[in-house]
């Protein structure tokens, strides 16, 4: 009995510790965003709640919050969509068709993804300048797609690989062409896998900082993370409250997506581990 209680206590302690570790900074961020002054933890100060920072970020046009958010959503959605459009058929070809050397192809793709992005940044900048794409959506979308494609392809390939081959053969007998097999059998069955892969690509693009910093110049294409980081330069002092308010609002879409679809994401990512 006591052992049981101890066990439970330890589980709760572990869970609480993990939560504190992960959520602590987020809570701190939210508190600063809601505090009258950011140094509310200092001696002689108290926490006075206010919504003025949030309101400022949301309502002051010069801060371009909605521009940045819009850019981020468009770039992320385009990246995710394009990524699935390429990775889906590619994974189908690599897992279902009699492609010679498909393992070599998969490994080569994995090798490509090993390049640290920093090493490519200067070249990308020169390329985008030459194309005249600096500060446009394609300048971000194309590198993002290239960047998440290997991971997406691997996830989808393992996902497609678990769909029994007999289904393809049955569909072939039932009169389907390769495209029809993909459309009528594989894609519907791979729905959760496609969805979680797309979501990963979306969140990656939404959070990406380095390329967005270098390849955009203003609110026409700049994304949320860069907007938050460059916030401070606009005023004389560092407006912590507003920066944190900005950050709070910026993570909402990502959190919303994950919470709304967590079941499907977890199902999609762990399908290989457990049968069914």
């Amino acid at each position: 009995m006591r052992e049981e209680a101890l066990k439970r206590a330890l589980v709760w302690l572990g869970a609480a510790g993990t939560l504190l570790f992960c959520l602590g900074p987020v809570v701190y961020m939210a508190l600063i965003a809601l505090a009258q002054s950011p140094d509310f933890l200092g001696p002689g100060r108290g926490f006075e709640p206010t919504l003025q920072h949030l309101a400022a970020v949301a309502l002051r046009p010069s801060l371009h919050f909605w521009d940045y958010l819009g850019n981020s959503l468009i770039v992320s959605a385009a990246s995710a969509g394009l990524c699935l459009l390429v990775a889906g058929p590619a994974a189908f070809a690599l897992t279902r068709l009699d492609l010679p050397g498909r393992l070599v192809i998969l490994l080569a793709i994995l090798a490509v993804s090993m390049f640290p992005p920093v090493s490519l940044v200067s070249l990308l900048f020169k390329m985008m300048t030459a194309l005249g794409w600096i500060n446009t959506y394609p300048a971000l979308v194309l590198p993002y797609v290239a960047w998440v494609l290997p991971l997406s392809l691997w996830i989808l390939a393992s996902y497609f690989g678990q769909i029994p081959r007999d289904l393809d053969r049955a569909a072939l007998i039932d009169g389907c062409s390769s495209w029809q097999i993909l459309r009528r059998v594989i894609l519907p069955l791979a729905g959760p896998g496609l969805f979680s892969t797309g979501l990963l690509a979306f969140i990656f693009a939404f959070n990406e900082f380095l390329l967005a910093l270098l390849l955009t110049t203003d609110h026409q294409a700049r994304t949320i993370p860069v907007g938050a980081a460059l916030f401070q330069g606009l005023h004389g002092e560092t407006p912590w409250g507003e920066i944190m308010a900005f950050a709070c609002l910026a993570v909402l879409p990502a959190i919303g997506l994950t919470v709304a679809f967590q079941r499907r994401v977890i199902h999609g990512l762990t399908r290989g581990a457990v049968r069914g």
Partner: protein, 366 residues
Amino acid sequence: MRLRLENLSKGFASLRGRVQAVQGVSLEIEAGEFFVLLGPSGSGKSTLLNLIAGLERPTGGRIWFGERPMADAAAGLFVPPRPRNVAMVFQTYALYPHLSVFENIAFPLRVDRVRAGDIEARVRAAAESVEISDLLPARPAELSGGQRQRTAIARAIVRRPGVLLLDEPLSNLDARLRASTRVELKRLQRRLNLTTVYVTHDQVEAMTLGDRIGLLNKGRLEQVGRPEELYRRPASPFAATFIGSPAMNLVEARVEERGDGPVLRLAGQAVSLVKGCVLPERLDRGRLLVGLRPEDIGLIPGPAQAAQGQVLRGRVASLEPLGRETLVRVSVGDEEIAALTSTKDLEVGAPVTLEVDPARLHFFRP
């Protein structure tokens, strides 16, 4: 639809080198016939079925459906499954998990762009014929093994295929369901008069279902014939031991000439062959393999009364009660011969006499 296979071969490149899964198979299957491809695993029977279906491309030989050539390795001709109008039932059933039973059955019709009204009627008719009308809204995951199997059959027959192919369709069912489904399958095939090719490794299934059986071994056709032909006149030691249960005894023997006619010398004993025995012409002298079916051997407890004629003397080595009968393994010299008997009071080690009917012996080249 009449099927004709001519010198059909299929080789695969594998890690172990080249594997010849099917070698020089020539075969004709008549319209409306229930033809069973029987063989142990790895004998090439599923590959042969896939070649007929158009799921695989032959590396040699030709396939005709009626008068139409479907594959010709030499001429580079290969017709994919769709225009062949074949239907197939897979061992795993291969139902589409994301579709209802109705949509599973309707799938080939939808791919064929059949009119919606016709689809409805034909799906219901097919479901009716395998008695799953009440399951149409269910998903495959909600079905039992037998129900899935029926769904797979309904999907196969709904498009009125020219040829119905079944790849071990009963092997995932439990024994009782397998027996009843076997009967239903045969009835359905008769009623629809479908040319059917059925793959199995189970000789009981082959014997009960097939109008004819093609016995495959290592990619080659060992023997083709009606079930009782394969049982009565096996063409090779492989056919002899593969068909019939319990398996036929195969014993090395020698034919000797004696004053009163030929004698079979077997496990150190002699069996006179004069009565009712026709030796195949080319096998009539020297060493050969003799086959005796356990059910063709008479077993008498006790030592032989007369030490001559068509008997073998031995001792009981083991007993396997099968219910109505008992399978007795008898040591005869240094051979062991299995016999079926309904005699009850036998003990291991007891002397017994085996009566052999020379007319029921099978002779093979060693």
